[in-house]
């Protein structure tokens, strides 16, 4: 059956107008039209990834519901490729279908208060319930942080230390953690914008069956590379028109409000405009390289540039607004918001929010300092950082 025939058959057997959303999504998964590059039987057709666009467009045109990909982005972008690459057949069958349909939301338990840039130094520990018996349950204790969607998640991907007596990268194991376990406590983590996009997650004697281990004991770092590589792929972003980012908001304010203009601000604004357009053209060129089959290392510079520009432009905007810049985003509601947003909407909020939220851009998903290390070492071939912890058992490191 051709792809188009499969789409047609799905729509005939499950009329989007009358089929309940979840039922339709399950049927779509079972028809192999969820993610066509996945294997047959796991929501895919072993087809080239590019064909997904055909399916998505045809189903959207027919008025079919989607699986709200932004809400379940961590499951789709990070958990699923990891489960596919490292999970057992049983794990793939159990987890992938409800992950894709959105019936089960996933979150990621990686970062810790003591392990940010140095993720491999994490301290959350997992021990066998009955000493070292093969196959017995694991008991997990520790604290995770910066966890989006933990308050809605059914499952988490988790890295924990299973052997503190070996160097840090070697003693980690990768698990699937049940977020409904009584030992899991989720607390909102209020950030400097006032709202709480993220959570802290406290793990106290959380029980994980050995069947929910992903990959061999001690191979957690290698498994995590699959997850993190997919995170970087996801950060790429689509094509933007000129003035498509935060610069567009500021440019609009400049055009509409002549009373804000000064000579110094004019040159500063144009300097930022130039930098934003340079970044946009660089992203365009990178996409042309990818399309030509020559991916370049420029992608690693894109996040660096995005973070710096967002911060400079949003800081400029607050200055430009003057007295109005003294007031925060939702001052009309007489309090700092404590909302729990699941996406970041720069353009839809006030200048103060943009200024504050942009501070996270050079920290989240790899700090700008770590990115500079990566560019210097992997692109320019400069010497690697001196790693004093490389051959030392984790338990002997300064914590």
């Amino acid at each position: 059956m051709s792809l188009h025939e499969r789409i047609k058959a799905l729509l005939e057997e499950h009329d989007p107008a009358s089929t309940p959303r979840t039922e339709f999504l399950r049927a779509r998964f079972d028809a192999g039209l969820a993610w066509v590059h996945f294997p047959v039987g796991l929501g895919g057709l072993d087809a080239p990834r590019e064909q997904q666009r055909i399916v998505d467009e045809a189903l959207a045109a027919a008025g079919a519901p989607d699986n709200d990909p932004y809400r379940i982005g961590i499951g789709l972008g990070m958990a699923a490729p990891t489960i596919l690459a490292h999970g057992t057949d049983e794990q793939r069958r159990r987890f992938l279908r409800p992950l894709w349909t959105g019936e089960e939301v996933w979150c990621q338990l990686f970062s810790e208060p003591g392990a940010g840039s140095d993720l491999a130094g994490l301290a959350t520990k997992a021990v066998r319930e009955d000493g070292s018996d093969e196959g017995s349950d694991w008991i997990v204790t520790g604290q995770k942080v910066w966890t989006s969607m933990a308050h809605e998640a059914r499952w988490a991907i988790l890295i924990a230390r299973t052997d503190p007596s070996v160097p840090k990268h070697k003693g980690l194991t990768y698990f699937v953690c049940d977020m409904t376990d009584p030992g899991v406590e989720v607390r909102p983590l209020r950030q400097l914008t006032g709202e709480a996009e993220f959570n802290e997650v406290f793990l106290t004697g959380v029980r994980i069956p050995d069947a929910h281990r992903l990959g061999p004991v001690g191979a957690g770092w290698a498994v995590a590379q699959t997850t993190l590589m997919n995170e970087r792929v996801a950060i790429g972003g689509g094509a933007q028109p000129r003035e498509g980012g935060v610069i567009g908001v500021v440019a609009q304010a400049w055009r509409e409000r002549p009373e804000l203009r000064t000579a110094a601000a004019h040159d500063a604004l144009l300097d930022l405009w130039v930098q934003a357009e340079a970044a946009r053209l660089t992203a365009t060129r990178l996409r042309q390289q990818l399309a030509a089959g020559h991916p370049g290392p420029e992608g690693s510079a894109a996040k660096l540039a995005f973070a710096r520009l967002n911060q400079e432009i949003s800081g400029f905007e607050v200055d430009l607004l003057g007295e109005e810049g003294l007031r925060y985003d939702d001052w009309s509601s007489d309090r700092w918001t404590t909302d729990r947003p699941t996406t970041v909407d720069f353009a839809g909020r006030g200048a103060g929010y943009r200024y504050l939220r942009a501070k996270g851009n050079s920290i989240e998903g790899g700090t700008s300092e770590i990115l500079r290390n990566i560019i210097a070492e992997r692109v320019l071939g400069l010497p690697p950082e001196i790693r004093v912890d490389k051959d030392v058992p984790w338990k002997d490191l300064a914590q």
Binding site: T282, R285, Q288, N373, A376
Partner: protein, 375 residues
């Protein structure tokens, strides 16, 4: 936005390889340095090889005028290599700016076809008689005027490459308004006084016209349009030269960071240096996209060309200067010496940042173009 191609074509890669090989063979930096304080700062033999033998002078000239029928895109690749090598040749001034002016006049102007033919063959070096700092959006210059007999008088300072020009293309004001004249460089009444230039690899001269005879090539709007077109194409291609300067400075710097030891470590292992190198690399990658966009826009006569060119000059000028300044600092003491090439790049980058309008001037021009008006 139109999907302008920002990558290099295979033809361009081949062209680059030929130009790079020629410059590496004939004009290594120590040869440039040795030459720059002599009375032969230009390498005329190299210029002939580049312009005539490799055909670089003919790239943007249509085949019907004896050219290669390529475009400013290919010329921009040559400019990158000229910048990388800080080569003392009048490529930008003659093969880009003067050629663009004559091309803009096209067949409307008497003699244009014949002049293009000689330019394409690399038989003649032509330079626009404007200060090298002249910006594309500046008013038509009034420094040179004609008398009743139609002879040119006036003075033009800081004209790049004019000391090696065979012909000068002189914007002048006649009693009927703006016009463009062709003047023989050794014409009677014309004085060319070489000045000590900040950039040793692109010398300047002051021109003094005292009743000089010339042929009028164009007048009125055609002359004004030809001059601004020449300056705009020049500014676009200069961005590629600036990219080449920045690339060379980054490579020199990274090479040094990988070989120089202090405190028992390679200095490239210190974050204080490696992070700055990473930032510089990111800026150079951006300059490449911006310069390519400008070259493509002038090559295709795209309606976005004025924005693309102002953007390219506003961005690439700063990147080239920063790359050269960092190159000096990364090298420490040796980078401050005359015997190291860093100063050749620093001087060329700083001069290029003023050439054809400063970054600030181009930002102001952008403000007009993209509806971000001044206070």
């Amino acid at each position: 936005m139109s999907p302008v191609a920002l990558l290099y074509s295979e033809v361009e890669d081949d062209l680059r390889a030929s130009v790079r090989a020629l410059l590496a063979d004939r004009s290594p930096w120590n040869a440039v340095l040795a030459r720059c304080e002599t009375d032969q700062p230009y390498d005329t033999a190299l210029w002939k090889s580049l312009a005539a033998d490799l055909g670089c002078a003919s790239l943007a000239i249509p085949e019907k005028f004896g050219g290669a029928g390529a475009s400013w895109r290919e010329a921009a690749v040559v400019a990158e290599e000229v910048g990388r090598a800080v080569a003392p040749v009048p490529f930008l001034t003659s093969s880009v700016m003067a050629t663009a002016a004559v091309l803009a006049l096209g067949e409307a102007a008497a003699d244009a076809g014949e002049l293009l033919d000689r330019l394409a063959a690399g038989r003649v070096t032509v330079v626009l008689a404007v200060p090298f700092s002249y910006a594309p959006d500046a008013a038509f210059p009034e420094a040179v005027r004609t008398d009743e007999a139609g002879r040119l008088s006036g003075a033009v300072r800081s004209v790049a490459d004019s000391s090696v020009a065979d012909l000068l293309l002189v914007p002048a004001v006649t009693e009927d308004g703006p016009a463009l004249f062709v003047v023989e460089a050794d014409a009677e009444g014309l004085k060319r006084d070489g000045v000590t230039s900040l950039d040793l690899t692109r010398p300047l001269a002051d021109l003094a016209f005292a009743g000089v005879g010339g042929r009028q090539l164009a007048s009125g709007d055609a002359a004004v349009a030809a001059l601004s077109h020449a300056l705009r194409v020049g500014a676009a291609v200069l961005a590629s030269e600036q990219l080449g300067i920045a690339e060379a400075c980054l490579e020199l710097s990274v090479g040094y960071l990988k070989t120089r030891h202090q405190f028992g470590r390679l200095i490239g292992s210190y974050q204080g240096l490696k992070h700055r190198a990473a930032d510089l690399w990111a800026s150079v990658a951006q300059a490449r996209a911006v310069a390519r966009y400008a070259a493509a826009c002038v090559a295709d006569d795209d309606s976005d060309a004025p924005v693309a060119v102002a953007l390219a000059q506003a961005y690439c000028s700063g990147v080239a200067v920063r790359a050269a300044e960092e190159c000096v600092q990364f090298h420490g003491g040796i980078g401050f010496t005359w015997e190291h090439p860093a100063h050749l790049y620093l001087k060329r980058a700083k001069s290029a940042s003023i050439a054809l309008g400063t970054a600030a001037r181009h930002r102001a021009a952008l403000g007009q173009l993209v509806d971000l008006p001044a206070a």
